[in-house]
Subunit: 279 residues, 2 copies
C-alpha cells in the first residue's frame, strides 16, 4: 500500500499541512487512514486528485463551504458552476476597473470624460409618489412595476423632461440598508385635485423647484447599481469644480435625494442620474 504522511501529501497536492488538517477536521478531505494511537494522518495517492481540485478552487477564492458541495459534483456540472462563478468574477472585476478609472481620472485632476455633467432647471411640480423600503433585488422588480403603473396612459402628462417618471433614493440600497426609495410621476397641477380622490397607495405632494446636475446613464435595461456611485462621484467632482459649496452640501442627497430619471424617449427608455441642489 502506497501511503504517505501528511507532509509529502501536502507537497504533492500543493496544499499546506495546516490546510490539510483543517480540511480533515471539517470532513472535506479526510485521510484514508488515521492511526488511532498516534493520531498520524496517512493519505493515498488516489486522494491527490480531490486535493488538487480543492487547491485549484481555493486559488480561485471559492469558499470552503462551497467547495464541500462542489467536489461531489461530476465534471460537467462543476465546469458549469465554474463558468457561472467566473462570469460573476469577471463582472466584479469590470466594476472595480471602472472605479479605478474614475478614481484615477478624478485624482489626477483630468476631466472625467466618462460622464458629462449637464444641468437642468426643474419647476415646481405636483408629483404622484409611492415610497418603499426595498432590498436591491426588490428595487429592480418593484421599480419596473411602479414605473409601469405610474406611466399609466390615463394620467395626464406634464410636458417635456419635467414630465418623466423618476425615482428618488433617499438612502442607500444595499444588502443591509434598504432604502427608502420613492417612485414619482409628475402630474399637471390642474389634474392634481381630481386625482386626490382615487389615490390608493399613492400619495400626492409638491416638489419644490430646483436645479439638477445630471449625467446620462444610457438604456434602462443596462443599469447596474455599481455604476451609480461612479456617477455620483462624477457629480460631486463637478460640484467641487463649480464651487457649489466646499463642504459638499450644495449637492444634497440628504435633502433632495439622489434621483434616477426614467425618460421614455423615442428609441427606448434611458436613465439620467441626477443630484438636486438648491442653488
Amino acid at each position: 500500500m502506497d501511503e504517505m504522511g501528511i507532509g509529502e501529501f501536502a507537497r504533492r497536492s500543493r496544499l499546506s499541512v495546516k490546510a490539510l488538517r483543517l480540511y480533515d477536521e471539517m470532513g472535506l478531505l479526510p485521510p484514508s487512514r488515521v492511526e488511532s494511537a498516534s493520531g498520524y494522518r496517512y493519505y493515498t495517492p488516489d486522494q491527490l486528485e480531490r486535493a488538487r481540485l480543492i487547491a485549484s478552487l481555493r486559488r480561485l477564492d471559492v469558499p470552503l463551504a462551497d467547495i464541500a458541495g462542489l467536489v461531489e459534483l461530476d465534471g460537467a456540472d462543476l465546469a458549469e458552476w465554474l463558468g457561472e462563478h467566473w462570469r460573476v468574477a469577471e463582472d466584479e472585476h469590470a466594476t472595480r476597473r471602472r472605479l479605478v478609472n474614475a478614481l484615477v481620472v478624478e485624482l489626477s485632476g483630468r476631466r472625467d470624460d466618462m460622464y458629462e455633467v449637464k444641468v437642468r432647471d426643474v419647476p415646481e411640480r405636483h408629483v404622484l409618489c409611492v415610497k418603499r423600503h426595498v432590498t436591491p433585488a426588490q428595487a429592480w422588480d418593484l421599480g419596473k412595476e411602479f414605473i409601469a403603473r405610474l406611466r399609466d396612459a390615463r394620467l395626464p402628462r406634464v410636458e417635456g423632461t419635467a414630465g418623466d417618471v423618476f425615482a428618488i433614493y433617499w438612502g442607500e440600497v444595499s444588502e443591509d440598508s434598504d432604502g427608502p426609495v420613492e417612485w414619482c410621476r409628475p402630474v399637471p397641477e390642474s389634474a392634481a385635485e381630481a386625482l386626490a380622490a382615487r389615490l390608493g397607495d399613492l400619495t400626492l405632494r409638491v416638489e419644490p423647484a430646483h436645479r439638477e446636475a445630471y449625467v446620462e446613464m444610457g438604456p434602462y435595461e443596462d443599469q447596474r447599481a455599481e455604476d451609480w456611485p461612479l456617477a455620483e462621484s462624477a457629480l460631486r467632482a463637478w460640484a467641487k469644480e463649480q464651487r457649489l459649496g466646499e463642504g459638499g452640501l450644495a449637492i444634497a442627497p440628504e435633502e433632495l435625494g439622489m434621483r434616477v430619471t426614467y425618460a421614455f424617449r423615442p428609441g427606448g427608455p434611458v436613465c439620467d442620474f441626477a443630484a438636486a441642489y438648491a442653488e
Copy 2:
C-alpha cells in the same frame, strides 16, 4: 458649525458606523470632535472627501494599512499608486482566468488545446549542476546567472535537445517554501573526467535515462510562475489519459522533479515544462 453625528456621516460617506469607529480607533479618520462626557463622535462635512476616498479604496480591497499611507499622498502620486496596484490586480485576474479555463477544459473532458503534450526520450547524461534553496524572487535572478554560467562556451556541448540547459524544481518555490532548485548543464561523457578537477561550486552527476512528457511554454522572458501549475496539470491530465499509473505516481515530481528546459534555439531562448517518468 455644520456638525453631524456618526450615523449621518456614515450614510453620506457610504461607510458603516462600525467601520467609522474602527477608523477612529486606528487614527485613520478621527472625528473632528469627540464629546468627552458622552463619547459621541461628531464629524464635519469637509471630512467627507477623505472618508469617500477611503471607502473607494476599500472597495478595491486595498488594506487599511496601505490606505493609512495613501490618504496622505497628493492626487497625482495616489493616481500613480493606483495605476500600479491595478496593473497587479489585472495580472492576478488574468492568471485566475487561465486557471478557470484550464479547469473547465479538464473537467468537461475536452482535450486541453492550450498545451500540447509531447514526449521525448532522454539518454543517460553526465550533468554539471548547481543546487540552491531560493525564494521566487531569487529564482529568477539566480537562474539567469547560472544559466549564463552553464552555457559558457568553453564547455563542450552535448548534441541536440539533450544538450540544453535545464532546471529541476525539487520542491515548490513560493513565498514560504524555498525550493530547492537545481540548474543543470549536460556535458559529454568524454569531457566529464577532465571537468571534475575544476568544479568550483558545481557538482557533476549522472542522470539516468528517462522519458519526459513536456509542453512548450514559449519565450524565456515571458515565463510566469503562475502558469507552471497549469502546465503541470496539463501533463497530469495527459498522464491520466495515457494510463500512466492511476495513482498519479508515474509522473514523478517527487522522484525526478519538475523540469524546465531552456533551449537556446535559433529565434531566441524558449522553455519547455517537463515531467520525467520512468516508463
